[in-house]
Structures are given as structure tokens and as C-alpha cells.
């Protein structure tokens, strides 16, 4: 059985099946990205000044990345042109030239993805921010992932009804602490759980037994009610357990899973309690920028952030820069005979400034704004700061701030959860990236395994390349929209 119009177009519609199919598919893709673009507009227009995280200006977020984005735009356009030439070569039955163009297209895709990785890597690993409880924000680097709690655990108390305790994921499975069950379902006390897998299987067995026992007891309970017993004994099956480690184990608690902690206890979101000794819950941070957009102007001088930084010169430098910018602003609007709009007063221009906290012994290296361009290459005092990031070498080493956890409202890298700009940036570019990879794989398939079909029916292969090329153009087009809204506007 053969499907008609697989290669030759149907006369009255002028289309072969795959071409019609890919146009329809692209229509649905337009709706997919259209939904995301509308979400972008909706989220950006919905930002409430002074309440929500301000939408960062593209340029200020990306700094050097605008160039990467621009290069990527050129790369993708070149590859779109390349795929047309590949198709033309096939139409001219020139296999060699087709190969060259097709590999060129795939190479462009590889370049595109590599540049993308550079951007992602920088955002995810080298840029962090901390919002303090008075809504002032410090931009910089959280060192060595110390946003985690460091805790010496001794016992873990958990329920048997739900999932495996989340704390197990924070333990090192290679150096799994040997646990002994100290309290638990009947007959389980004293059981030794030496490996993670032993723990898991014991947990699942106990869970199953728990529910079995529960079913039996409930049956008894219901029967007693049905037979009219005055005060039936309530259902009571022990559903929790405590395990104790032979030696205290190191716990690196990731903050998202933890709902609260004190000197002796860590409470996990899933109701599991770990007892032991807190080593440290401080966050160690190298500050590069202070962002006061969410703090009222009259409260900025008393902000918590200056206590945390503990360096008067840094504070002075912030407000010097602020008044400088304010003067510029006033004179700009004076010339036009206008007053400075409220929005500008709360905006990024006045409220985000570079701040440098010099390490002890380097007081002289303290910098005012952009004056200090000739400082020596950054030499960090500890291994922790090695490779600290982003060309901050110009002001000498920074002092590491120790920030108590209770003063932190929100913190993280510039990953998707940092704010809505980052969320939509990562979601859209990643989805676009998946399209690039998918399209490139299909085109690679057409050139690596295409020879057989080429010899049999070159027109069929040309059709496939045409269809793949249409998709490739679409991917290109999406990027042409993404680049301005993510990098420039």
C-alpha cells in the first residue's frame, strides 16, 4: 500500500503531504511561542514598582552577553541561508555541495549552542544575589555553595506514611552513616541500616507493614462501631520511627527543602526532623553591587545592608555615586524644563551601584566608581574565592561577608528562580535551544544517512530537506524575536 502525494504535489492543493504537514506543525509552534511571548508581555507589564522584583534592563543584566547574542543571531541567519543552499544543491543533484552546506548548517547550530552554554554557565555559577529582610539586594557571588546549612546530624525522626525522607538525598551515599533504629514499629528497634539501599528497603517494608497493620486495626474499629460498642478503642498504629547514627554525620541542607532550624534541630519540609548540632548557617558572600530599588529613598541610609557590609567607605561610595547620578538627572530634566519623574527616582539608575568592600590589609585599594582601573589582577586570599568572576580584578581582593541566615529573605544564583526575567529568559531560550538541537539532529540525519535515499529518489530527499529547512527558518525567526526582547529592551 502506498500513500499518495508523498513526493509529488497534489495538483489541486499544490502540496505534497510533508510540506502541508510541516506548515501545520509550524502553525502550532507559532501558538506555542506565541503563548510564551504573551506571557512575557503579561509578566513584564504586571510588575508593580516597589513591590515585585523590578524587571532588569536587558543591557544591565547581560553586560557583555549582548555581543554573544548578536553573534548568535548572525550565526543562525547564516545557517538558515546555508540550508537553502543545501536544498538548491540537491535540486541540482550535487551531492558533494549538499554535504558541505549541510555540515555548515550543523556546525552553526553547534556554535550557537556553545555560546549559549557560556551565557548559562556565567549566570548559573558566577552571579548570585541575596535579598535581605528589608528588601535591599546585594549582587555578587555566594562562595562554595554555602547557601546550604552545615549541620552535624545525629538522629532522624520521620513518618512511615509518606515518601522516603528527603534528608536522605542530602547525605552522601558513599559515606552513608550507619544508622540504628532506636524507635519504630514493633520489633524494629535495634535494626542496623548500614547503606542507603538497606535504609530504603527497610523503609519500604516498614511502610507496607504499617499500612497492613492499619488496615487490620481499622477493620476492627469499624466492626466495633457497627456492632454498637459504646467506646470503641481508637485506631492506633505506630507510624513513625527514629534512627540514630553511630557517629555524627555531616549534613548539607539545601534551603528549599528546609522549613526551619535552630541550634539543635533541622525541620524538613516533609515533616522529617533531624537532631544534632548546627555548625554554621551563615552565608559567605562577596558583594559587587547593592540594589536599593525596593527600599524607600529615605530609608536607604539606615538599610540593613550597611550593617552586613560593615564598611563605611563602601557606604559612602554608594551614596556618592547616587548623588552624582541624581545631579545628572536633574540637570537633564532641567534643560527640558521638566521635573524628574517619580519612576526615575525609584529606578535602577539611582538605586543600583557598584560597591567594593576591600579585604583587610588592602584598605588603599578601595575604589570609587570607575576611577580605579589599574589595580593589579585579583588575588584572592582563600581558595574559596579562586576564579571569582566577571572581571572584578580591578579593585583588589574583596572581603568576604558573613551574613547571618535570619537576615536573608531570598537568595540564589541568577538561575530561573531569581526573578521573572530570569524565569522567562531561561524557559524561552532553553525551549528554543531544544528546537535548535532537535532541528540540527534531523538535518544531520539527512546528510549522514541521506545517500541511500538520494540514489533512489533524490527528489524525495530534496523534499525532506525543504521541510527540515522550513522548520530551521522558523527556529531562526524565533531567535530574531528573542534577541531584542531578552537582551536589548
Amino acid at each position: 500500500m502506498e500513500i499518495p502525494y508523498e513526493v509529488t504535489p497534489r495538483r489541486d492543493t499544490g502540496l505534497y503531504n510533508a510540506k502541508l504537514g510541516v506548515w501545520l506543525f509550524l502553525a502550532s509552534e507559532v501558538m506555542l511561542f506565541g503563548g510564551l511571548f504573551s506571557a512575557y508581555v503579561f509578566l513584564r507589564l504586571g510588575v508593580q514598582d516597589g513591590v515585585d522584583n523590578p524587571w532588569p534592563w536587558g543591557v544591565s543584566v547581560h553586560k557583555s552577553f549582548v555581543w554573544l547574542g548578536a553573534i548568535n543571531t548572525v550565526v543562525l541567519i547564516a545557517s538558515s541561508v546555508g540550508v537553502v543552499f543545501a536544498w538548491v544543491s540537491l535540486k541540482e543533484r550535487n551531492w558533494r555541495r549538499y554535504q558541505i552546506w549541510m555540515y555548515f548548517v550543523v556546525a552553526c547550530a553547534v556554535v550557537f549552542m556553545c555560546l549559549k552554554m557560556v551565557e548559562y554557565n556565567s549566570k548559573l555559577n558566577h552571579h548570585h544575589g541575596i535579598k535581605l529582610i528589608d528588601n535591599s539586594v546585594m549582587e555578587g557571588v555566594i562562595l562554595d555553595q554555602t547557601d546550604e546549612l552545615r549541620f552535624n546530624g545525629e538522629t532522624i525522626t520521620f513518618g512511615l506514611q509518606g515518601a522516603l525522607p528527603a534528608v536522605l538525598r542530602d547525605l552522601d551515599s558513599k559515606e552513608f552513616p550507619a544508622f540504628t533504629v532506636t524507635d519504630g514499629p514493633e520489633g524494629s528497634a535495634g535494626t542496623e541500616l548500614k547503606t542507603a539501599s538497606a535504609f530504603k528497603s527497610w523503609f519500604h517494608d516498614s511502610r507496607r507493614d504499617f499500612f497492613k497493620a492499619l488496615a487490620t486495626d481499622r477493620k476492627r474499629y469499624r466492626a466495633e462501631i457497627a456492632s454498637g460498642v459504646a467506646n470503641p478503642k481508637p485506631v492506633a498504629v505506630k507510624g513513625n520511627a527514629t534512627v540514630t547514627a553511630a557517629a555524627p554525620f555531616a549534613l548539607h541542607g539545601s534551603p528549599r527543602k528546609i522549613v526551619g532550624h535552630n541550634e539543635t534541630t533541622v525541620n524538613y519540609r516533609d515533616g522529617v526532623k533531624v537532631e544534632g548540632t548546627l555548625i554554621s548557617d551563615d552565608v559567605i558572600f562577596e558583594v559587587h553591587e547593592v540594589d536599593m530599588q525596593l527600599v524607600l529613598p529615605q530609608q536607604q541610609r539606615e538599610s540593613l545592608v550597611w550593617d552586613v557590609i560593615g564598611d563605611d567607605a563602601a557606604k559612602q561610595s554608594f551614596f556618592t555615586q547616587q548623588s552624582q547620578k541624581y545631579q545628572e538627572l536633574v540637570s537633564y530634566y532641567d534643560k527640558r524644563g521638566e521635573v524628574v519623574p517619580e519612576k526615575m527616582l525609584r529606578g535602577r539608575l539611582l538605586n543600583v551601584h557598584y560597591v567594593h568592600v576591600p579585604a583587610e590589609g588592602h584598605e588603599g585599594g578601595e575604589g570609587h566608581g570607575e576611577k580605579d582601573k589599574h589595580a593589579s589582577v585579583h588575588t584572592s586570599e582563600t581558595a574559596l574565592t579562586a576564579g571569582s568572576v566577571g572581571g572584578e580584578g580591578k579593585h583588589g581582593p574583596s572581603r568576604l561577608l558573613v551574613i547571618p541566615r535570619e537576615q536573608v529573605k531570598f537568595m540564589g544564583n541568577h538561575g530561573p528562580r531569581y526573578g521573572n526575567y530570569y524565569a522567562i529568559y531561561f524557559t524561552m531560550t532553553a525551549l528554543h535551544g531544544i528546537h535548535v538541537v532537535g532541528g540540527a539532529l534531523v538535518l544531520l540525519f539527512f546528510v549522514v544517512f541521506g545517500k541511500k535515499l538520494y540514489l533512489k529518489n533524490p527528489e524525495h530527499l530534496a523534499n525532506r530537506v525543504e521541510v527540515g529547512g522550513l522548520f530551521w527558518h522558523f527556529v531562526d525567526l524565533i531567535w530574531i524575536f528573542l534577541f531584542p526582547i531578552m537582551y536589548l529592551l
Binding site: M1, E2, I3, P4, P9, R10, R11, T13, L15, Y16, N17, A18, L20, G21, L24, F25, A27, S28, M31, L32, G34, G35, A39, F42, L43, G46, V47, D52, N53, G162, A163, L164, P165, A166, V167, R169, F211, K212, A215, R218, Y221, R222, I225, P255, R256, K257, V259, Y268, R269, D270, G271, P416, Y418, G419, N420, Y422, A423, I424, F426, L431
Partner: protein, 648 residues
């Protein structure tokens, strides 16, 4: 039957054997690319899911009718221990889970796959005279993606978190913050719902592309646009609805997945508190955005649910009234207008979200406009029966019942279209009654009709009429028993999400529906719903509804038996066209082989030429070139066929 069909049959076999090559079982029936096998796979899977969704609802109905009593039969099952309380009663969590999954399963895993996947796949290529779908392997992929998505949804019940619990609409931030206590966020029901939906959406998209391509490009010679059976038109419009409406939901699913797994705040507003604690997220997101994205799909989805059933009914009515479909062309235009308007009515689900009166006014207007094509469709079907000598076969019974049921569902929707009455009715049982009248006795009756109608083509045997009647009449009664009381409860103020059936709200639940010794009170007394001489209160209607639901389940047994036994002992059909119908699917051998038609089919005339004056029979099939039975729409055959044959 007709000489022509016998002729093609006889001549065919040589050629047929020639083309047939050996295919192993798994290739022929499991990983098949034949649209008919895929259609049957869709059919069976979706019927299983329909039964499962029905089961969930029956457990919920127990909790509503008897919130104080242990659930019978299920209280000792190990799985239920985590979700029932000590007395064996349904907990709020279980009710929420079953409610959310009932909606999801019925809509996305039950009715759409049955209507679009099963009937669309089996019937569409046959009706347009195509050998298969345009992309057979893509077709197989859509089925397996659907099955995978369904399997994930099903498996999520057995996770420690249970399945999704935030309603079938999965509104954020509730859906985002549910089940966050689990360490492994990926393997929670709420997340698996999103993953499952992403798979189902992908499956639907592939299906939609395939259907539209098939209908546009694979029509046989002479099958011009206005000779397409109405079913094919409905499939085309449905395909476009799925193609363009589903991607925004995919966006919503991706964004909610990011909210859950990557900690973004797309739908999380600033300053959100969950269980008295500040929620650890950047904030600044918009819950309203989720609702817009969701309903941009979910309103067109309503038409995806209803159009195939309506179109099946439109096939069955002319065949059984022996009259042409009244207003075929106007129905085609109406369905196109309906498809277009379906995209601009979505926010009528969101009147009470505070999106503003200007927006509400716009959507009120479009919502009222969309009732025009709907009424045109249903009225045309009604007029089609006027003056016909109707054969009340079992499919015709279901098709006939479809019209008033759909009518009730549609008319009760009018108050909901206006934002003012919607303030009162929103989220009450009135809404439940309204849309279930459309999808349960409406769509499902249409689908039953389709099963009874095309069963002889699929198996070569008729389904039992006696069992069919035993299925139809009780179903009709109990469907109304379930959904009619909901209107009264809803207007009285019963909220749809109360797992105790409204018991906690005495002022509402004690309102009297019928005074003692009136007809309804006596009837309820007779059925032991209320004691003697007591008024029938609103809350007592819960028992009526629940009882009807369980009885409805009982009377689906004849249908299941009918399907299975008729395959083996049903009356054999004596011809390829047992209903004396006119469309092309009846030109194929029974059951149709891989590749469908023995000789290349040609459409000589319009799809519904019944009782053409001067014709020898009361039906003139599209595939018979009999000059004596040429109807008004039969011209141009030669012209069209020569034009297209040159393209070959």
C-alpha cells in the same frame, strides 16, 4: 447487497492476496501503522479510561451522599488505607484527588481519544476514500504517546503523594504549592500530571497535523469539498482546534513545571503565604496568566468534545430517516464559524477572577455569538428528522436522545454566559450539571451511537438490538437522574468542591425541594430516599444523584457484554452496507483490509443522497455511478475526476 459492491469484492481477491505480505502479530495489531487498528487501539484504551474515570466518580458520589459512612467494598484495600480515615470514610484529600483525576481522565484520556482518536482514525480515511492517514507512522506515535501519558497519570495514583489534587484545571498557585513537602518533587502526582499532559498534548498535536493533512491532501477522485461527509468536516475543524489551542496549554504546563521543579515564580504572586509560612520564591508572577493560558485551550476543548459526537449523529440521522441531511452547507459554514469563535470566548470561565468588566463584556458578547452556530447545527439535525420515516435502530435511539440532551446542556449554559448570573452560579453544581449534560448524555450518547453504527463495518457482525435497548433506556433515565437535580442544587447554592455534599452548610442543604406528598416527595419516599411525610430537601437530592450514578454503571454492563459477545455470535451482515448508507466507508470490504479499498474509489455525488426522486433505491451511495439516480449534487463528476487523475 448492491451488485457493484459484490463485483468489486469478487474481483478484488486476487489483487488483494498479491499485495498482502506476512506481518507478525506485534506489527499487525500492536505497533501497527494501519489507521483502523490504531483507531481500535484508541477506542479500547479510551473506553478503559472512561470506565476508570467513572469508578473515581462513583467513590466521590459515595462521599457526597453518605459522608458519615465507610466506603463499601473499598475500605480494606491496601491502597485506600493512606487516603481513608479511621472509620473508612473518604477524606478531603482523596475526594480532591479523585475529583481532579475524574475530570482529567474523562476529558483528556477518555472522550477526546474516543471521539477524535478512535472514530476519527477509523472513519475519516474511509469516508474520504484514502488508503490510510497521510503519515501512518506519526499516527502510531500519537497513539503510543497518548498511552504513555495515560500510563503516567494512572501510575501517579500509586506514588506516596497520590495523584494530582488541585482540580482538573490545576490552577496555580494551589497546584504549584501542593505536594511540595515531598523530597522528590518530580515523582509527585502534581508534577506527573504536568508531564502526562505534555505527552498528551504532543500526541494530540501529531494527531491534529495528521488529520488535517489527510483530509486536505488524500481525498479520492471526485471528493470535492462540498461532497465531504459532515463527519469529515467536523474532524477538520476539530483538528484545527487541537492544533492551535493546545500549544498555549503546553506553555502553561511548561511554566508550571518550572514553578514546581526550578522554583520560578511564573504563577506565584509576591508575598504568597502557604500554611502560614512565607513561600520561598521570588514572586511577581500572575495566577491569572495561568487561567488565561489554560482556558485558551480548555474552551476550544469543549468543542473538541462535542463536535465529533455531533457529527456522528449527523451521519446516523440521514441514514435512519432516509432523507438528506437538512442544510448540509449551512451546517458546514456553521461549524467553521463555531471553530473560529471557539478561540475568542475562553475568558467566560473567568468572570469572577476580577479581570475587569470591560474584558467580561467582550467575552460575554462572543459567548452569546457562539450560540448562533451551535443552534444552527442542532436545529438542522432536528429538521433533518422532520417528515422522515424513521428507523429507530439502536444507534438512531442514541442519536435521537443526543439532541434534547445537548439542547438542555446548551440552554442551561446561557445564564453562565452572562457575568452577573455567573457570579451566583460559578463553581456550583449548576455548572456541573450544565457541562455534564453536554458531555455525558450529549457526547457519550453520540459516541455510543457511533459504536453501534460502525460496529458491523468493523467486525462484520451486528450488535444485539435487545441488549442495545437494555443499555439505552436505563442510561437515558439515569443520566437525567444524575444531572437534572444538580441544576436545582446549584441554584440553591451547593458548592461543587464540598466533599461532604454540602452537609456542613445547613441553611443551604435544608432548603426544601419538594413539599411532603407532592409528586417528587412521594417518588423519593417510594425509593427510600426520605422517610414518610418528610419534605424532600436539597441535600436529599445527593442520594438521588448518587443512586442514579451507580445504577447507570450497572446498566453499562449490557453494553460491555454486547460488544464482546457480538464479535463472536452477533448476526452476520449480509452485505458491506448493512444500513443502506451512502458514504464511502460502506464501499470497503467488511472488515476493511490494510489499504482499505479494493479498487480506487471515486465519489460521484454528495454524501447524503437518500430518496432521490426517480432513483431505483431510496439511497444513492457516493461510490455508485448510476446515472438513473443522479441527484442535484452529482454533476461535475467527470470533470473533477479527470482533473485529479492527471495529478497521479
Amino acid at each position: 447487497m448492491s451488485a457493484a459492491a459484490e463485483h468489486t469484492h469478487a474481483e478484488s481477491h486476487g489483487e488483494h492476496d498479491h499485495h498482502e505480505h506476512y506481518e507478525p502479530f506485534w506489527r499487525k495489531y500492536i505497533f501497527s501503522t494501519d489507521h483502523k487498528v490504531i483507531g481500535l487501539q484508541y477506542g479500547f484504551t479510551s473506553l478503559v479510561f472512561l470506565a476508570f474515570g467513572f469508578f473515581l466518580m462513583m467513590v466521590m458520589r459515595w462521599s457526597i451522599a453518605y459522608p458519615d459512612r465507610a466506603v463499601p467494598l473499598l475500605a480494606d484495600w491496601p491502597w485506600f488505607q493512606a487516603w481513608l480515615d479511621d472509620g473508612g470514610r473518604v477524606t478531603g484529600d482523596l475526594y480532591n484527588m479523585f475529583g481532579a483525576m475524574h475530570g482529567t481522565i474523562m476529558v483528556f484520556l477518555g472522550i477526546v481519544p474516543l471521539a477524535f482518536g478512535a472514530f476519527g482514525n477509523y472513519v475519516t480515511p474511509l469516508q474520504i476514500g484514502a488508503p490510510d492517514m497521510a503519515f501512518p507512522r506519526l499516527n502510531m506515535a500519537s497513539y503510543w504517546l497518548y498511552l504513555l501519558g495515560g500510563a503516567l497519570m494512572f501510575v501517579s495514583f500509586f506514588l506516596p503523594s497520590g495523584a494530582a489534587k488541585a482540580g482538573w484545571t490545576n490552577y496555580s498557585p494551589l497546584a504549584t504549592t501542593t505536594d511540595l513537602q515531598f523530597g522528590d518533587l518530580f515523582w509527585t502526582g502534581q508534577t506527573q500530571w504536568l508531564v502526562g499532559m505534555a505527552l498528551l498534548i504532543t500526541s494530540s498535536l501529531l494527531g491534529a497535523v495528521n488529520f488535517i493533512c489527510t483530509i486536505i491532501n488524500l481525498r479520492c477522485r471526485g471528493m470535492t469539498w462540498m461532497r465531504l461527509p459532515f463527519f469529515v468536516w467536523a474532524m477538520l475543524v476539530t483538528g484545527f482546534l487541537l492544533l492551535l489551542a493546545f500549544p498555549p496549554l503546553e506553555v502553561a504546563a511548561i511554566m508550571q513545571l518550572m514553578d514546581r521543579l526550578a522554583g520560578t515564580s511564573f504563577f506565584i504572586p509576591t508575598g504568597l503565604n502557604v500554611s502560614g509560612m512565607s513561600f520561598d520564591a521570588a514572586g511577581g508572577g500572575s495566577p491569572l496568566l495561568y487561567q488565561h493560558l489554560f482556558w485558551f485551550l480548555a474552551h476550544p476543548e469543549v468543542y473538541v468534545l462535542i463536535l465529533p459526537a455531533l457529527a456522528i449523529v449527523a451521519e446516523i440521522i440521514p441514514c435512519n430517516t432516509r432523507k438528506p441531511l437538512w442544510g448540509y452547507k449551512i451546517m458546514v459554514y456553521a461549524v467553521m464559524v463555531l471553530g473560529f469563535l471557539a478561540f475568542i470566548v475562553w475568558a467566560h470561565h473567568m468572570y469572577i477572577t476580577g479581570m475587569g468588566p470591560a474584558v467580561s463584556t467582550f467575552f460575554q458578547t462572543t459567548t452569546v455569538l457562539i450560540s448562533i452556530p451551535s443552534v444552527i447545527l442542532i436545529t438542522s439535525l432536528l429538521i433533518s428528522m422532520w417528515g422522515g420515516s424513521i428507523r429507530f435502530t439502536v444507534p438512531m435511539l442514541f442519536a435521537t436522545a443526543f439532541i434534547p440532551m445537548f439542547g438542555i446542556g446548551g440552554l442551561t449554559g446561557l445564564p453562565l454566559a452572562f457575568s452577573l448570573p455567573d457570579l451566583h452560579l460559578h463553581d456550583t453544581y449548576y455548572v456541573i450539571g450544565h457541562f455534564h449534560y453536554i458531555v455525558a448524555p450529549g457526547t457519550i450518547f453520540g459516541l455510543f451511537a457511533g459504536i453501534y453504527h460502525w460496529f458491523p463495518k468493523i467486525t462484520g457482525r451486528m450488535m444485539s438490538t435487545r441488549l442495545g435497548h437494555l443499555h439505552f433506556w436505563p442510561s437515558l433515565i439515569f443520566m437525567n437522574g444524575i444531572f437534572a437535580p444538580m441544576f436545582f442544587q446549584g441554584m440553591a447554592g451547593f458548592h461543587r468542591r464540598a466533599f461532604d455534599g454540602g452537609k456542613a452548610y445547613e441553611q443551604i442543604s435544608n432548603q426544601v425541594f419538594a413539599e411532603p406528598n407532592t409528586f417528587f416527595a412521594n417518588l423519593a419516599e417510594l425509593l427510600h430516599v426520605i422517610p414518610a411525610d418528610a419534605p424532600l430537601r436539597m441535600i436529599d437530592l445527593n442520594i438521588v444523584t448518587s443512586g442514579s450514578a451507580w445504577l447507570l454503571a450497572v446498566f453499562q454492563v449490557p453494553f460491555i457484554i454486547n460488544i464482546f459477545i457480538s464479535v463472536f455470535i452477533g448476526k452476520k451482515v449480509t452485505s458491506d452496507n448493512p444500513w443502506d448508507a451512502t458514504t464511502l466507508e460502506w464501499a470497503t470490504p467488511t472488515p476493511p483490509p490494510h489499504g482499505n479499498f479494493i479498487t480506487e474509489p471515486v465519489a460521484y455525488r454528495g454524501p447524503y443522497e437518500y430518496s432521490v426522486p426517480g432513483a431505483p433505491k431510496d439511497f444513492s451511495p457516493q461510490f455508485e455511478n448510476d446515472p438513473s439516480s443522479i441527484g442535484e449534487n452529482s454533476a461535475k463528476v467527470g470533470e473533477a475526476s479527470t482533473k485529479q487523475s492527471s495529478a497521479h
